[in-house]
């Protein structure tokens, strides 16, 4: 082993170097015993040489290009070295042996001679591994959100006893009333003549067969144009909707649509599905700045895709129901026209993938085509009943 005794490393950039009197603290990675080793370099062979009587044959050779320094270290007064090891399973591809240098000259020497000191080694196939894992995780989450949870919700929803669902629906309607009424207690319209007209419309639509549910329709005294179905046959219309409707047939169309939701138990199924996906999404996407927004957007997109499907089915159900009751679907179609105008007045259009209802124009068109093909129809309410319904909130 060549061991040129030069004064200091500065005088021998390209020559072999021995650091006289300088030691490094060496742990062989097998035992806890520390060896204070002497150091020299052999530039021709490209090695750092560790000397100690207790080492096998008194020396250990460290190839300069295999030497790595530990990263993100707190102490500036020491440099901890190790060797690259592509087979290491519990560390960043390094061996278990450690050599700590505190002598500034020794540190400077190693920093100058070891070409890959701060190299980040990456195992072959790492990229493929990441893609495989990432793909697997995404596939599992997608499968859960779009197949398993909705399927389970569909299976479970019919198992809930109807009286429970009805009680739940009533709570939801009460809460909605409190929320929309801004604390006002009496939001429910109760004009007897109006309620009678509403009952008549309902009977005409549901016919003699009726539904699995007892339908209970509530009208809220608010200007907002809206209608929704709560669980257990609870349906809410607003004064704004009745006022905006061109005729009783239009209201009947909306009502038939909501009855469609009731018949399909959409709200209950949706509640179960959302309960399943919410916790899952917040775990998969949460836990970083902006995570809550990401969860919200993802939830909205998933919801809208399910709602659009449900809305389309409820529309089809409504048209069928109108037809069986002998009511023209033209009123339903006209009502979409009015909604479309309101939307265009807002000055922008919500993109299809973020909206819960299918685009209004298409729905109006579908209802108009259906109405054209209908046979003999009659008005759903007499003129006097229609004016009674319009006065339900008076």
């Amino acid at each position: 082993m060549p061991k040129a005794l030069l004064t200091r490393w500065t005088s021998a950039a390209r020559s072999d170097v021995s650091l006289e009197g300088v030691t490094g603290r060496f742990f062989d990675g097998e035992g806890g015993l520390r060896l204070d080793v002497g150091l020299s370099s052999d530039n021709a062979a490209g090695t750092l040489i560790l000397h100690h009587a207790d080492l096998p044959a008194g020396v250990q050779y460290w190839p300069l290009e295999a030497i790595r320094a530990l990263q993100d270290q707190a102490r500036a007064d020491q440099l901890v070295l190790t060797l690259a090891d592509m087979e290491a399973v519990d560390a960043g591809l390094i061996t278990t042996a450690r050599l700590s240098l505190t002598d500034p000259a020794a540190i400077a020497l190693v920093q100058r001679l070891a070409p890959n000191l701060n190299k980040r080694d990456v195992k072959r196939g790492t990229g493929r591994k990441i893609i495989t894992y990432l793909g697997g995780a995404v596939a599992a989450v997608v499968l859960m959100v779009f197949v398993i949870l909705p399927g389970l919700a569909n299976q479970l929803a019919p198992l809930i006893p109807i009286e429970r669902e009805v009680a739940w629906g009533k709570t939801v309607v009460n809460q909605m009333g409190r929320f929309l009424g801004d604390g006002q207690s009496d939001l429910v319209c109760e004009d007897p003549a109006g309620l009678g007209a509403l009952r008549e419309m309902e009977d005409r639509l549901t016919g003699v067969d009726g539904l699995g549910y007892e339908i209970e329709i509530t009208v809220f005294d608010i200007p907002l144009v809206n209608a929704f179905a709560a669980p257990g046959g609870q349906i809410v219309l607003t004064r704004g909707l009745i006022e905006a409707a061109p005729d009783a047939d239009a209201v009947a169309g909306v009502l038939a649509h909501e009855i469609g939701h009731v018949d399909a138990r959409d709200v209950t199924r949706n509640a179960l599905r959302v309960a399943g996906t919410a916790g899952l999404l917040s775990m998969a996407l949460g836990d970083f700045a902006g995570g809550a927004v990401a969860v919200g957007v993802a939830q909205a997109m998933i919801d809208s895709s399910y709602s659009r499907e449900a809305e389309t089915e409820a529309d089809a159900f409504a048209l069928q129901m109108l037809d069986e009751a002998g009511v023209s679907a033209m009123g339903f179609s006209k009502f979409f026209g009015i909604l479309g105008e309101q939307e265009s007045q807002m000055g922008f259009e919500i993109p299809q993938y973020l909206r819960t209802h299918p685009v209004t124009e298409a729905r109006a068109e579908a209802a108009r085509v259906f109405a054209d093909a209908q046979g003999l129809t009659s008005l759903v309410l007499s003129a006097s009943d229609w004016s009674a319904l319009k006065g339900i909130c008076d």
Partner: protein, 412 residues
């Protein structure tokens, strides 16, 4: 050159970390986490740990953290899949049960029932969180080295879950009186499964000894209950408020006192390989001082941040909302460029501000407490450490993925 054993039989813990470098490391890694939509957080945590571990030394030799961000990321992906299935099914079944069995949502009791569902959810997650806590500790030990030798921990997460649930139940049923039993036995369970190289750690001592650490909690309770009762009897609201305030503060201090006391006691009764013993002299007063100074720093930083935010806001506010705009509000919409610049500036400042607070917290509180605790530990019979041999590598399995997915474990 000779074999270099320890001349002294004692070895002191020393902490070399500094505020500046760790603060900037935190800011740099947090920014990377932000721009990678959170994916870098596994690497960020790993780098912070590397810093803190390497700042910790036993005698002359530094500790080392050998975990990698990549394995944490992959472990997280695995955990996500398992938890996604479990959580999705659990939540849907809980709501179903809530609607079906418990009579939830019916009229008056509905809010109560909803709360019950939320708690049932948490309760169902508790075993998983305990499982994750044990696995996280095992992973951290498996990735810790000192003098080139690995630490390690035996597999035993489910045993820990069962015991922890049992002891927590006892604590709740005894109104907290059995807290020392839970603290001692659960820590003993983990310590008795801990290894350094081929040397096993053992926890001696008695759980009843921890009652000494409960004294300030007991005093706080006396103040709260006694003061409250006296206030009610004498109908003195001020007295009640004072008793509540003093009792509350005393309780917080008492909780820190208990943790420090328990740490010292457990450390002093720990033996490695039947030979090497430990001592710890952590001080409650010092820890509380660190907390108070850290809190003041955080408050100061918040005030400074709010002032800068207000200045930016007012400058842009003045520029955008000129007199013409006030008379004609539609002009506001025409000045979109100004609005966008102001928005971006405020957003950037806000993010920087939040990151800075996190950094101050890490540097002023977390690191200072670690420094104090490390410096308080000494090891006796250290020469025996020379004879300890390496242990086999632990692949780490989920690499803490469950803890990351369930968001437990805090800053480091």
């Amino acid at each position: 050159m000779c074999r270099q054993g320890y001349s002294s039989s004692h070895l002191s813990g020393r902490y070399f970390g500094q505020s500046g470098p760790l603060f900037w490391l935190y800011i740099r890694t947090s920014l990377l986490t932000l721009v990678t939509l959170g994916i870098y957080r596994f690497w960020a945590k790993t780098r912070i740990r590397k810093y803190i571990w390497s700042a910790t030394a036993g005698g002359e030799d530094s500790f080392e953290y050998t975990g990698t961000g990549l394995e944490k990321f992959l472990g997280f992906l695995v955990a996500i899949v398992i938890l996604a299935i479990f959580l999705g099914l659990l939540n849907i079944l809980l709501v179903f049960a809530g609607l079906n069995v418990m009579g939830a949502f019916d009229g008056t009791g509905s809010e109560l029932a909803q709360i019950a569902v939320i708690y049932a959810n948490l309760l169902a997650l508790l075993p998983l969180m305990l499982f994750a806590a044990y696995r996280a500790r095992r992973y951290k030990l498996a990735r810790t080295r000192w003098r080139g030798l690995r630490f390690g921990m035996d597999n035993g997460a489910w045993g820990y879950v069962l015991r922890a649930l049992g002891y927590y139940l006892l604590v709740v049923l005894s109104l907290g009186i059995l807290t020392p039993l839970a603290t001692f036995r659960l820590e003993k369970y983990m310590i008795d499964r801990t290894w350094y190289g081929d040397a096993r750690m053992a926890q001696d001592g008695k759980w009843t000894a921890l009652y000494g650490g409960m004294k300030h909690l007991a005093i706080a309770l006396v103040i709260l209950v006694g003061g409250g009762a006296a206030a009610i009897m004498m109908e003195a609201e001020t007295l009640g408020a004072i008793a509540f305030f003093v009792g509350y503060i005393w309780f917080l201090v008492g909780a820190i006192y208990y943790r420090v006391y328990a740490f010292n006691y457990m450390m002093r009764n720990r033996v490695l390989d039947g030979v090497v013993t430990f001592d710890a002299q952590a001080e409650t007063g010092r820890v509380i001082t660190i907390f108070i100074i850290g809190m003041l720093a955080l408050i100061g930083a918040s005030i400074a941040g709010a002032i800068v935010l207000a200045i930016i806001g007012s400058i842009f506010g003045a520029a955008i909302v000129s007199p013409q705009v006030i008379s004609n509000p539609e002009l506001l919409l025409t000045n979109t460029g100004g609005l966008i610049v102001a928005g971006i500036l405020l957003g950037v400042f806000y993010i920087g501000f939040i990151l800075a607070l996190g950094g101050v917290n890490l540097v002023m509180i977390t690191q200072k407490v670690i420094a104090h605790v490390v410096n308080s530990v000494t090891v006796a019979n250290a020469p025996h450490l020379d004879q300890i041999q390496q242990r086999a590598a632990d692949t780490g399995a989920d690499a803490e993925g469950f803890a990351d997915a369930l968001d437990i474990g805090g800053a480091i």
